[in-house]
């Protein structure tokens, strides 16, 4: 009679080594992310094709029956475009800063959104167009209360993180070698190289803390963390 006992896996090497599990994870993540991007892209492509077809239907008969310059009323009216955000007093958004010994400062933007800066905070605009407002928290902690933006994107960057906003209240802080994003209400999408999975959706009462990319240190080796024991 053999010494082997069931289950036989007790006498066999575990094929699920850390290296193999990590290698499979890399491929899974790449494929899942790729599929999601395709899923996002398909509706956009379909919408574009529908819009292009509609434009052809509107314009083609007129060209056939009335050659020459197309009268302005034959053209679709340009879509309403939101104007670029300014401060509530109409001034352009410039660098916002509060000295270390200063008092907390709150600013209201032209759409009613509010930005609060604690002492020692510096926020600067990277881009302010009708399509998008991109702010950067260069240092300190800033809190944002953002209303619905229509078609305009409202993004906040801190270190290598980017927070995309859709009607929400949240704060972004740089503390030492950590960047924190805390959501008070609503939801935000956070992207960055140190974000688990590359991107997370944060809801109210959730906080994401990631290591800043500024001090260059090697990431902890995956093998240092034990994999959970297999069942059964």
């Amino acid at each position: 009679m053999s010494e082997l006992r069931k289950p036989l896996r007790d006498s066999l090497r575990d094929p699920a080594t850390h290296a193999r599990l990590d290698a499979v994870w890399q491929r899974v993540e790449t494929r899942v992310t790729g599929r999601r991007q395709n899923e996002i892209g398909k509706p956009l492509l379909i919408a574009f094709l529908i819009a292009a077809t509609a434009a052809l239907i509107v314009l083609m008969p007129k060209r056939a029956t009335a050659p020459g310059p197309i009268a302005s009323h034959h053209l679709a009216a340009p879509a309403a475009v939101a104007s670029a955000l300014t401060l509530s007093d109409g001034q352009a958004i410039a660098e916002l800063a509060v000295a270390n010994d200063g008092a907390e400062r709150a600013l209201t933007l032209s759409d009613g959104s509010r930005v609060s800066l604690t002492p020692g905070t510096r926020v600067r605009p990277l881009s302010s167009t009708p399509e998008a407002l991109v702010l950067e928290v260069a240092e300190g902690r800033a809190r944002f209360e953002v209303g619905p933006q229509g078609g305009r994107a409202f993004r906040v960057r801190a270190d290598q993180l980017e927070v995309s906003v859709v009607g929400t209240g949240f704060s972004v802080a740089i503390e030492g070698d950590q960047v924190h994003v805390e959501v008070q209400h609503g939801r935000v999408r956070v992207r960055g190289p140190n974000v688990p999975g590359g991107e997370v959706l944060l809801s109210a009462a959730q906080t994401l803390s990631v290591r800043s990319a500024r001090p260059v240190e090697p990431a902890a080796a995956p093998a240092a963390v034990p994999w959970p024991k297999r069942r059964p």
């Binding site: 289950p7 599990l21 899974v28 995956p222």
Partner: protein, 220 residues
């Protein structure tokens, strides 16, 4: 991107910490968070079940490369089809069912390639090849015989036997993975046991399955 570490390890300056998605989260919590776009929850689901999926695929296929492909395909299908999972608590069972289904597809492909003389794969993870260093020569010989018996077995019986007696699944979990009733899985295991015991002498920690044992019959 490397696999994110679990929050316990991430609570260090080197990593990231997403609260509310910890090791204590249930599969149902993690599935719901993954559906909402939480990459950390998805990584946690992978971390929790990947070892079992890879082990099952390797034991059944006997080839590391094929097993890695099947594990990869199974997780991709699971993560991109979560809307089809009716009960989030059953993620593990559903994932293993996808895995076994993919393994069986791989068997069919391999069979076809063999018939055409195009199967270039190498069996590098058979039971005999995977024996621990402490396993004696006599037992290794038994494992080689067992590999041969399993190779000649119908796919369903082979899978049932491997899940039960190599990986140690309970009959109910093996039945779920193969998407059959408990009575059917017991019948397959008993039939496979008979084939194995005709050629190989193994000690039995598990009682042999008998078809008549099935007092509970349910379609999974």
């Amino acid at each position: 991107m490397p696999l994110p570490q679990p929050p316990v390890a991430l609570a260090t300056p080197e990593g990231a910490l997403l609260r509310e998605t910890g090791p204590g989260s249930t599969d149902a919590d993690l599935v719901a968070s993954t559906r909402a776009g939480d990459g950390a929850a998805q990584a946690m689901l992978y971390r929790r079940h990947a070892a079992t999926v890879l082990a099952v695929a390797t034991r059944l296929l006997g080839r590391h490369a094929d097993a890695e492909d099947v594990a990869q395909d199974s997780f991709v299908v699971a993560f991109t089809s979560l809307s089809q999972l009716r009960d989030d608590k059953l993620f593990r069972a559903w994932l293993l069912r996808i895995t076994v289904h993919n393994v069986h597809r791989r068997f069919r492909k391999r069979k076809l390639l063999r018939k055409l003389g195009l199967d270039r794969g190498e069996d590098d993870a058979t039971l005999a090849q995977q024996a621990l260093p402490g396993v004696g020569a006599e037992d290794r010989a038994e494992l080689r015989k067992l590999d041969a018996v399993l190779n000649d077995m119908p796919t369903n019986e082979r899978s049932a036997w491997v899940l039960r007696h190599v990986e140690g699944f309970e009959p109910k979990e093996a039945a779920d993975a193969l998407d059959v009733s408990l009575a059917t899985i017991k019948r397959w295991i008993a039939s496979a046991d008979a084939r194995v015991s005709a050629h190989v002498q193994l000690g039995a920690a598990h009682a042999l399955e008998k078809p008549g044992d099935a007092t509970e019959v349910s379609d999974v």
